[in-house]
């Protein structure tokens, strides 16, 4: 808890020595609910519980979001997606996250067709656990996530 906030002060050092980050394991992991709405038909809503997301700081001063074993609709294969280049601004007690157009990676390579737009979110320094809220659009879906930090 609070580790990400502390580590952001030493982002470069963290990135250099974290061997695991390429594989999507970070020190800050969240578990929460993913709510997916079909943009062309907002009545179609899918909810997935206990989804694991994580945030890792990168060398270039941005954050990378890992969406572990995620699917947006039940028919979609389970994917582990890496979303690099998320900008953040520090506010009292929270970080604001944003991204206009982000190309996710899967298995180490970029996938243009899964481009993520209009990403916005907050990482709140809360007790007893930090809270992560996110929303973005991808492949015709509006995706919202609300999770809390896991131990």
């Amino acid at each position: 808890m609070k580790k990400l906030f502390l580590l952001l002060f030493a982002a470069a050092a963290f990135a250099a020595c974290d061997d695991d980050k390429d594989y999507g394991t970070a020190n800050e992991e969240y578990s929460g609910t993913l709510t997916v709405t079909l943009l062309s038909d907002p009545s179609q809503v899918y909810t997935f519980d206990d989804k694991r997301f994580s945030l890792v700081s990168a060398d270039d001063g941005t954050l990378t979001l890992w969406m572990h074993e995620t699917q947006f609709v039940p028919q979609m294969p389970v994917l582990t997606m890496e979303v690099p280049g998320i900008a953040y601004t520090r506010m009292p007690e929270r970080l604001n996250l944003s991204g206009e157009r982000l190309v996710p990676k899967m298995g180490g390579t970029p996938y243009e067709k899964y481009v993520i737009t209009n990403l916005a979110g907050t990482l709140t320094d809360a007790e007893p656990s930090d809270r992560l809220t996110l929303s973005f659009e991808c492949m015709g879906f509006r995706v919202a996530y609300a999770g809390t930090e896991t131990d």
Partner: protein, 762 residues
């Protein structure tokens, strides 16, 4: 009771008493040393006169074992009702099915003891039975006395004693498949009460099945071993016995024939047709065993104290072409080195009192190291990994930069267990009441290390941008679980007389929990798929750990004797409820592998009948029949619900009928001519949980012409004389079906020579 019935019962009692007296030449209480056939063993936990115990049992004595030339436990299959030991794979696959219970891998449902020493790894059950003088098969849970992995029963093997017979024996056999079996053993009494025996054996066979890919027989074997047994019997009630045995085995094995539609290569040329054994990578099984069992017993006036200590070493290696096709998918090279120590202490009352008791304490420590590297080869990489990845991902083309993909798994498995047990028996008149309880504790630990290196290239189809990627994994962990089982038993028996009784029993049995190391290749595969961007990672603990399986066995049985002992038999009706059955299932979600779990519940109902008859002086008839109706009461593998389906691999019927006719030749030096004809059968056997594939009931006809003399015997024999075609094993690997045919018609000649120095007449 009318007079006629009374007279009949009295005559039966007299006959049974006479029969008992002749069979047990030394009338001693069951808790002391007794002579049965030519063994001299200490009946430590139960009497050798199993006909007075409330348990369904079959005893194969030296004459039966000699006349059936039994050299392995698999040859006892079907001679005992509902006891089925299929002969497939290699000597590592010693699966035993009894009353619908059994296991292909991991924990067995049946325990095995050799001269009172328990074999702690079922991989070692299939050994050469040299000078085995008595085999007992006890059906139904024996968990109170024997503990873990005896929910289906126990097999006790006793070997010839140097205190009961002194001399030298030679045996030579030659048969189909260029199978040769040589044995030599010598038994000496060094002085009064001290005996020593040494035995050596060698077996070779070219096998019976051709692998068309190599043009050679695949089920060849070479086996050699030796045994040294020392027995000392003091005059003050102290007895010591030590048996050390060594064996070394190397064999081909795995004559698995393809059972699907023809497979063609890219040019349309047929690679394999149904019914063909055709695989290109080597497959074999090697095993080295050493064991030492030390038994110490002290008989005081009112009690006896026994200690059975053993050390068992096993080093085996299995190499498998796991696709069993003329394609290079993947191979497995599994080595397991295991050290086991066991100690069993038994304190029991002596004498023929109304109340008898037994207290025991058991402990074991087993340490195993296993390496199980799976090597994906070109076809496996192309067809199983790249084809899936390319079909799954329209954005990129995947290409492997190496020729192989190693998935290495290494394990260290220290297990320990301890148990306390008690059994009380109270007799009044013809009534015998028995109650027992055992508390078993066990801790299983698995240290694992997995590693793999994969180098591949993803090329974007849109613009040809290439990314060289590397996947490195080197991780380890530790899993631990412990469990405590309370195992009660109850029985009541009423003996009408020495040869007729009825009993009712209820007993709990269990199979130990553990870890299914075979799942680790699936774990690694899932991990790699996740790194490639798709797939779900397993929870290793949840996937490989399994807990104990438990059963309750309810049984009604009895023995009967008639016609002055010329007709003897026993019967049993049983009902087994099995819970938390250890089964392989598909995990929830979209993972492609399997996992071991305690998902099932089964019910097994059945009946058994054994009859031995001697209708004429020199004619012996043996009949054994078993029926089992074993079904899943609950089993959902994540894709299908198998409730109501028959349990695979366990036969519905087992049957054996054997007739031996002894004809005196009138020549003292020649002895008797013994003509034996037998039929044994099993089936129906379902091969899959869906019950879509099944082996119908089959019958194998055997015959022997034997010259039988005290000093030698000569057998001309034939097995499966009608050339029955049947399957002994069927399975599916990577969506392809395979089967193993039963052995074809075989013939042979066996010569045994016994040079007796002196025979103790008990």
């Amino acid at each position: 009771m009318n007079d006629r019935l009374k007279n009949l019962l009295l005559s039966v009692a007299a006959a049974a008493t006479a029969l008992s007296a002749s069979a047990h030449a030394e009338q001693t209480p069951v808790d002391t040393v007794v002579h049965v056939d030519r063994i001299q063993v200490t009946a430590i936990k139960q009497g050798l006169d199993l006909r007075s115990s409330p348990v369904a049992s079959t005893v194969l004595g030296s004459r039966t074992l000699g006349r059936t030339r039994t050299s392995a436990l698999k040859e006892v299959s079907e001679l005992v009702p509902n006891f089925f030991v299929p002969d497939y794979g290699s000597r590592m696959t010693s699966s035993i099915y009894v009353r619908g219970l059994g296991a292909r891998i991991d924990q067995p449902a049946m325990g095995m003891n050799v001269d009172n020493v328990p074999l702690m790894n079922k991989n070692n059950y299939d050994f050469e039975l040299v000078d085995a003088e008595r085999i007992e098969v006890l059906r139904g849970p024996q968990s109170t006395l024997y503990g873990r992995n005896t929910m289906g029963g126990v097999v006790n093997v006793y070997t010839l004693s140097p205190l009961a017979w002194q001399g030298t024996r030679f045996g030579a056999e030659y048969g189909s498949g260029r199978t040769m079996r040589l044995r030599a053993s010598t038994y000496h009494k060094l002085r009064d009460g001290l005996g020593i025996a040494a035995a050596a054996w060698y077996v070779r066979s070219d096998g019976f099945f051709d692998n068309l890919a190599t043009g050679e027989r695949c089920d060849w074997e070479r086996l050699g071993g030796g045994r040294l047994k020392i027995q000392w019997r003091g005059k003050r009630g102290l007895r010591i016995e030590n048996t050390a045995a060594f064996s070394s085995l190397t064999q081909g094995g795995y004559p698995y024939a393809y059972a699907g539609d023809p497979i063609a290569d890219q040019n349309g040329q047929t690679l394999v047709r149904p019914g063909e054994i055709r695989y290109n990578d080597p497959s074999s099984y090697d095993r080295t065993n050493f064991s030492d069992g030390f038994t110490l017993r002290y008989d005081a006036g009112r009690f006896s104290l026994s200690s059975i200590t053993s050390y068992q070493y096993s080093d085996d290696r299995m190499i498998l072409d796991q696709d069993f096709l003329p394609l290079s998918y993947f191979t497995l090279r599994q080595t397991l080195r295991e050290h086991t120590f066991t100690e069993d202490l038994v304190l029991r009352s002596r004498g023929d009192r109304a109340y008898r008791w037994l207290f025991g304490a058991f402990g074991f420590y087993k340490h195993g190291r296993m390496e199980a590297p799976v090597l994906f080869k070109r076809d496996g990489i192309d067809r199983l990994i790249l084809a899936n990845a390319n079909a799954h991902d329209p954005e990129y083309d995947y290409a492997w930069r190496d020729e192989t993909l190693p998935l290495d798994s290494r394990f260290r498995m220290p297990d320990a267990g301890a148990a306390l047990y008690h059994e009380s028996e109270f007799r009044t008149g013809g009534w015998h009441f028995t109650a027992g309880i055992r508390v078993d504790w066990e801790r299983a630990v698995l240290h694992y290390e997995n590693s793999t290196t994969a180098r591949y290239t993803k090329t974007r189809r849109a613009d040809g941008a290439a990314y060289d990627l590397e996947f490195l994994l080197d991780e380890g962990g530790r899993l631990e679980q412990s469990f405590t089982e309370v195992l009660p038993e109850f029985s009541v028996r009423y003996a009408f007389d020495a040869g007729n009784d009825l009993y009712l029993s209820a007993a709990k049995g269990y199979k130990a929990g553990g870890f299914n190391t075979q799942m680790f290749s699936d774990v690694l595969q899932q991990k790699m798929m996740k790194r490639m961007g798709f797939g779900t990672e397993y929870d290793i603990d949840r996937v490989v750990s399994y807990k104990p399986e438990r059963s309750w066995n309810y049984e009604l049985g009895g023995r009967f004797t008639a016609a002055r002992g010329a007709l003897r038999g026993d019967f049993a009706l049983f009902w087994i409820e099995c819970r938390d059955q250890q089964l392989t299932v598909f995990p929830e979600g979209t993972t492609t592998g399997r996992m071991m779990t305690n998902a099932g519940r089964t019910r097994s109902l059945g009946a058994e009948l054994s009859v031995q008859a001697s209708p004429w002086r020199r004619l012996d008839l043996d009949l054994a029949y078993g029926y089992t109706h074993a079904v899943f009461r609950r089993f959902d593998d994540g894709r299908h619900d198998f409730r109501g389906k028959r349990i695979p691999y366990a036969p519905e019927h087992t049957a054996s009928l054997r007739a031996s006719w002894s004809i005196p030749t009138g020549l003292k030096w020649l002895g008797d001519l013994v003509l034996t004809a037998g039929a044994r059968g099993a089936g129906r056997i379902w091969w899959d949980e869906e019950n879509t594939l099944m082996q119908p009931f089959y019958v194998l006809l055997d015959a022997t012409i034997r010259i039988e003399h005290d000093r030698y015997s000569l057998d001309l024999w034939g097995r499966n004389l009608a050339g029955e075609r049947y399957d002994t094993f069927r399975f599916v690997s990577m969506g392809n079906a395979f089967l193993q045919r039963g052995r074809p018609r075989t013939f042979g000649i066996t010569l045994n020579i016994n040079i007796s120095h002196k025979t103790d007449k008990p």
